[in-house]
């Protein structure tokens, strides 16, 4: 199984969620996040004093999928989250050793 983590622009969350649902992904975890990449942050001005704000708001979403679906899911997320502008985010894949559904005790593939 693979854990797919994506950090994307907040306004693209709904597009990504819809695309993943169409693909058959049934659940995900979404967290508000902040950070920066190459685009850095932004500048705010208060009575002439400028403040560099390094962190920009993002959402981080996590889904666990079967090994064979990993590449496709990444592709779906990238397509749905892309605007072509700087700050679109990142998607990465990490291996998952095991997974348990808390309600039933089912493991691995059955727990997804």
């Amino acid at each position: 199984m693979k854990l797919i983590t994506a950090v994307v622009k907040p306004h693209k969350l709904e597009d990504v969620r819809a695309a993943l649902e169409t693909f058959g992904v049934t659940g995900m975890t979404v967290t508000e996040a902040s950070g920066y990449g190459r685009q850095k942050g932004h500048t705010e001005v208060y009575r002439g004093a400028e403040y560099e704000v390094d962190l920009v708001p993002k959402v981080r979403l996590e889904v666990v999928v079967e090994d064979g679906d990993g590449a496709d899911v990444v592709d779906v997320i990238v397509k749905a989250a892309q605007t072509g502008k700087i700050g679109d985010g990142k998607v990465w894949v990490t291996p998952v050793e095991s997974i348990v559904r808390v309600r039933t005790g089912e493991v691995d593939g059955d727990a997804l």
Binding site: E44, V45, Y46, R47, G48, A49, E50, Y51
Partner: protein
């Protein structure tokens, strides 16, 4: 002198104006409170609130008497009305209003003036030090300055208003230059905040700032138009000039921001409004509405530049009391010398209206004298308080936050607001409710 009869319209207007001016101090608390960091908002508001309490008592006991009765050397009054003696009698009349209406109206000025100073020392003053300063400065500076500016008695009154004939309709000199100079002194006495110019010290809530600016603007109609002390033409002219100059100052400030930084900001809008209100205060009875537009635009622009003075000169006037009130008040007061029109209630022509430079000189001298006096006394008093009962928080306490250290409170419960309210494993504080009835008592009460 024949006793004038009380006029109901005038009395109603002055009492309503007193209430309007009162609202400015809570408005100031929001204005300043929104501009500080989360850890200091309550203390900032408390500094305004405590001036309401302390100055009200001082005003009744000696303040009104020292400011508006008798005269000693054209700088201070006497004690003949201490405790407001005799002023609750029906025959106590000032002009066309009961003297107590005037007492109430002027009290609100005495309250907000020291409250204005607090913005210069945000985040870092002991509460006891501030209380001591408010009491001392009000007695040593506000009462004599207000007497000098506003106690008129056919040449036997205060030296600024009655002898020098400098114009200060509603308090540009007595309130704003006075408070602004004291603010500069205290900023120097207390020194810079820990991390000034290194740590971000952004306003924690601009909506609070806007709310405060709105309340200030609303209350300012009482401040300026109420100073007519009657419900007539003068009140109407000053009301309109107040509105016009303030609107113009918003535009002036925002133009400067747009040119310098590329954006028109919300804080700039609120600050421009306050700068305009400050600048029109001394001159609202001396200029025409067109004069008020010119005065307002310039005041907004000048104050927008003036707030960066602190970075150039290296003093931490935290919320720009010097840049807005000292500079704005000074500009508005001097502007009378240029833009004053004989057609306005004060009936003085400035340079642009064919008058000479005399009025400009009188305005300059009045403000120089008040500014220097207020600065020197505030500096000395601040140092004295710091050396005795302590005025500056320790570095540790300042970093922890003045709300928690001085008031045992914090403004916002972020853990409780996380959606896990009532069941937050991270909030491990124990609730100790003092004087709560025992559980059995409560049950009995419920059954009864």
């Amino acid at each position: 002198m024949t006793l004038m009869e009380i006029n109901a319209g005038d009395t109603a207007w002055v009492l309503v104006s007193a209430a309007l001016v009162f609202l400015m101090t809570p408005g100031l608390a929001f204005f300043y409170g929104g501009m500080v960091r989360v850890k200091s908002v309550l203390n900032m508001m408390m500094m305004s609130a405590i001036t309401i309490a302390v100055v009200t008592i001082l005003w009744v006991v000696v303040g009104f008497s020292l400011t508006f009765t008798g005269d000693h050397g054209h700088v201070i009054g006497g004690f003949s009305a201490a405790g407001l003696k005799g002023l609750i009698a029906p025959e106590a009349v000032s002009g066309t209003i009961p003297t107590l209406a005037f007492v109430a109206f002027q009290l609100m000025f005495a309250i907000i003036t020291p409250a204005l100073i607090s913005g210069a020392i945000a985040d870092r003053a002991t509460f006891r030090g501030w209380i001591a300063f408010v009491a001392g400065w009000t007695c040593l500076v506000y009462f004599p300055v207000a007497h000098s500016v506003w106690f008129l008695d056919d040449g036997k009154g205060g030296w600024i208003g009655d002898k020098l004939k400098a114009i200060d309709f509603a308090g540009g000199t007595a309130v704003h230059v006075n408070a602004g100079a004291a603010a500069l002194a205290l900023a120097l006495v207390l020194g810079r905040r820990v991390g000034w110019r290194k740590d971000p010290m952004r306003p924690h809530s601009l909506p609070l700032v806007i709310l405060g600016a709105g309340l200030l603007w609303f209350g300012w109609f009482g401040f300026n138009a109420g100073s007519a002390l009657s419900a007539g033409t003068t009140a109407a002219v000053t009301f309109v000039n107040t509105q016009v100059a303030t609107a113009a100052a918003v535009i002036g400030w925002l133009i400067v921001e747009r040119i310098r930084h590329g954006k028109a900001t919300t804080l700039g809008m609120a600050s421009g409004a306050v700068a305009g209100l400050v600048a029109i205060t001394p001159s609202c009875g001396a200029v025409t509405p067109v004069g008020a537009i010119i005065l307002g635009v310039l005041a907004g622009a000048i104050c927008a530049f003036a707030v960066s003075l602190k970075y150039k000169l290296g003093f931490d006037d935290s919320l720009d009391v010097v840049g807005v009130h000292l500079v704005g008040g000074l500009f508005g007061s001097l502007a009378i010398g240029f833009l004053g029109s004989a057609a306005a209630p004060s009936a003085v022509d400035g340079l642009f209206y064919g008058g000479g430079a005399g009025q400009l000189g009188r305005q300059a001298l009045a403000n120089l004298a008040v500014g220097v006096y207020s600065f020197v006394v505030a500096f000395g008093l601040g140092k004295l308080i710091d050396k005795t009962i302590g005025f500056r928080l320790t570095e540790d306490d300042e970093v922890t936050g003045v709300d928690q250290v001085e008031h045992a409170e914090t403004a916002y419960d972020f853990l409780g607001a996380s959606g896990l309210r009532g069941h937050n494993p991270l909030a491990r504080a124990t609730a100790i409710v003092q004087d709560a009835p025992a559980e059995e008592d409560t049950k009995e009460g419920a059954n009864a």
